[in-house]
């Protein structure tokens, strides 16, 4: 672990001594920057390749897909597949594409995401800062729960919901999402809150703040990045969920993924790859939007970190 093995680090070090008060180093067009951007751009290309294939395919007609290379740009650009995926593809008798389930998905997504994050963040906070006897046992069971394949739990949960009178209703589905999101989210929040300096918490206690006030006025504002991660996890998971949506609700509440599944997963007949790709990209649009918008919160997380000191 000698310094000399890493010339990069060396250079950093010497540069830093020139401007010791700055944050972390930042130079334009230095070798270091070329390396950072070069690596990121290379990796981004690898990440974008499948997206490129999907977009290109979604803009081709079926004959072109049958014959051409998957990497070739479309000769005749057509937006037909996109239109069809959104408003024309058939799900049995209903030929109105993905649009049919869009609002259902929103209705499932919003309460499920908010409720699961609210409950899990309080759980995590209680576990990290207000430990009580037995908490660890419950928490361990919860973590083990994160590893159980969902499908195994389907039937017992049907029975539970039936006994609670919630089977087939939207609230039942929200509950299921909250329950299955809980292990990972609780762990996420617990571990993040654990790394918040204890002094802050103690100081607030000295000022007479209670459980909820510390949570709302100290923990919440400091934890934006982790709330963003939680939101990314839940929005993606719930939005893309197919199994629970279709098992625990009735057809009038079916989420958009049911249509996606029906478009993509038809057992027989011709596979319309272009419509499949367009449908996938359209379904992915909501989580993507959330990722992009939440980026602002990540940047604010830097500021939060700076305040901490």
């Amino acid at each position: 672990m000698s310094d000399s093995t890493n010339p990069m680090a060396r250079r950093d070090h010497t540069h830093d001594s020139v401007e010791p008060d700055g944050p972390r180093p930042r130079h334009r067009l230095s070798g270091r920057n070329i390396m950072i951007y070069g690596t990121l751009i290379m990796i981004s290309l690898y990440y974008l390749l499948p997206l490129y294939v999907m977009v290109v395919t979604s803009l081709k007609g079926m004959p072109e897909i049958r014959l051409g290379s998957i990497f070739a740009p479309p000769v005749d650009i057509t937006f037909e597949p996109w239109v069809k995926a959104w408003s024309g593809a058939c799900t049995g008798l209903n030929c109105d594409g993905l649009s049919r389930g869009f609002w259902n998905s929103v209705q499932i997504l919003v309460p499920s995401t908010l409720l699961s994050i609210a409950i899990a963040s309080v759980n995590g906070y209680a576990l990290a800062n207000w430990r009580f006897r037995g908490a660890d046992v419950f928490f361990t069971i919860l973590i083990i729960g994160a590893f159980i394949p969902y499908q195994v739990m389907i039937y017992p949960i049907v029975i539970l919901l039936r006994e609670m009178g919630l089977y087939g209703s939207l609230s039942g589905l929200v509950l299921v999402h909250t329950v299955f999101g809980m292990p990972i989210l609780t762990l996420l929040f617990r571990n993040y809150f654990t790394s918040v300096p204890v002094e802050l918490f103690k100081a607030a206690r000295v000022d007479g703040a209670g459980f909820w006030r510390i949570y709302l006025s100290i923990m919440l504002p400091m934890s934006l990045p982790i709330f963003v991660v939680a939101m990314i996890l839940q929005v993606t998971g719930i939005w893309n969920d197919f199994l629970f949506g279709v098992i625990y609700t009735r057809p009038e509440n079916y989420p958009m993924t049911v249509q996606l599944n029906n478009i993509v997963n038809s057992v027989q007949g011709v596979k319309e790859y272009n419509v499949n790709m367009a449908a996938t990209l359209l379904t992915g649009a909501v989580p993507l939007l959330v990722y992009f918008v939440s980026g602002k919160l990540f940047v604010r997380g830097i500021a939060a970190g700076a305040v901490k000191g």
Partner: protein, 409 residues
């Protein structure tokens, strides 16, 4: 909370339709273009009776639809009708008393007299009562051959399996894949059962699949079938696709000489604008033994508390087997109707061959009707391995096959 939601929904929907009619939610997995058009025929026929078909389409049979159906039924909120591969898959639901008895409808409609072959109805019958309505017939025993591939190789299109195997080197020399076969396990296992009927004949097939006779399965007849499967394995080793329709597409474009696949492959040729007899040839029973199996789709009707809905379920079942519905539905679906007394004018070349074989009574029950899904998937696993791993010897595979047959239920 739950009841209010439900009440709101019910009132909203009833407001939109006539007040006296029953609404039936029907779950099925027909979602592609042609399939959806076929379902529309069933729905409009049912709606014409004054009731309303509420569509609950979910693509993907086994792992997708089954948990949904069972959850809905055990959760006390069943759909009114659901598609199921008829055969032994729904046995247990019937035994648990969760499915509506359709015997009264079947008797009133005279199903016993019109359904042909009668084995379709037998598959719906448990302890003498009828629990499902068969709607179509699909058969597995077809070999599809590409005229273009054989032209390119400069040889005539073969008329049976043996000639086809002999033609394989010429096809290979012309840069063709002799036999296209997707990698999914059901395709491998299906191809094997097709070979079995064609090479070993109907009796052996029934002894193995219906009687679960392990000695026959280990015997010389099945050894010949495995020899043929080994040929098929060599001929198909360069197929690098998963889905059956991708493999069919290789036949359509002439990259592959042929494919063993059920009559549903017909639709792919049709959509590609190919004409039977000109662009491709279909050989039922691989051109050896003209026997076809009769599998297909059927609808089951979960027991419902509501008297009116229960009544409507009977109407739906009866409607599905009416001659007009059968013709309209099966034409769009590309399958054969379950009754022989209907008009077949529109059938094409290959379908006619199938109808002739049906009329001659050269049919066998499908493997789904003979063995449990559990046994079926063990067989699928074996052939998926066999066809993809040339290091498994014929003898080894046969002894494993015999073991599965011995344990079959």
């Amino acid at each position: 909370m739950h009841t209010t939601c439900k009440a709101l929904f019910v009132s909203a929907v009833i407001g939109a339709s006539s007040a006296s009619a029953a609404e039936l939610e029907v779950t099925h997995w027909w979602t592609s273009g042609g399939e959806a058009a076929a379902v529309a025929e069933l729905a409009s026929a049912f709606n014409a009776t004054g009731n309303t078909w509420v569509d609950g389409a979910i693509a993907g049979s086994g792992s997708t639809a089954r948990p949904i159906m069972i959850s809905r039924i055990t959760g006390g909120d069943p759909m009114a009708a659901t598609q199921f591969n008829h055969g032994r898959q729904a046995e247990e639901l019937v035994e648990a008393g969760l499915m509506r008895d359709l015997t009264d409808i079947a008797e009133a409609e005279g199903w016993k007299d019109v359904v042909h072959p009668i084995s379709l109805l037998d598959a719906c019958t448990i302890d003498g009562r009828i629990y499902c309505a068969p709607v179509n017939i699909h058969s597995w025993q077809w070999l599809w051959l590409s005229h273009k591939a054989f032209e390119d190789a400069g040889i005539p299109v073969p008329t049976n399996w043996d000639d086809y195997v002999k033609a394989a080197p010429a096809l290979e020399a012309a840069g063709k894949i002799p036999l296209a076969m997707g990698q999914q396990s059901w395709q491998s296992a299906g191809a094997f059962s097709v070979l079995m009927v064609a090479i070993a004949g109907k009796e052996i097939y029934e002894q193995v699949y219906a009687d679960h006779d392990a000695e026959v399965a280990a015997g010389p007849d099945i050894a010949r079938v495995f020899k043929a499967a080994d040929d098929a394995r060599k001929m198909s080793k360069d197929t690098k696709v998963q889905d059956w329709n991708q493999a069919t597409n290789m036949v359509i474009t002439g990259q592959a000489g042929g494919q063993i696949m059920g009559d549903w492959a017909q639709g792919e040729f049709q959509i590609a604008g190919q004409v039977a007899g000109e662009d491709y040839t279909c050989l039922p029973g691989l051109g050896v033994n003209q026997i076809i199996s009769t599998s297909g789709d059927a609808f089951y009707f979960p027991v419902m508390d509501n008297e009116e809905q229960s009544e409507a379920q009977g109407v739906l079942a009866a409607t599905m087997l009416k001659p007009d519905t059968q013709v309209a539905f099966n034409l769009k679906k590309g399958s054969l109707p379950v009754r022989s007394d209907v008009n077949q004018e529109a059938a094409n070349d290959c379908m006619r061959k199938g109808l002739e074989i049906l009329a001659a009574g050269n049919t066998i029950p499908d493997t789904n009707q003979l063995v449990s899904p559990d046994t079926n998937s063990q067989i699928e696993d074996l052939f998926s391995e066999f066809f993809n791993d040339s290091s498994i010897t014929v003898e080894d595979a046969q002894s494993r096959f015999a073991d599965i047959v011995a344990d079959a239920d």
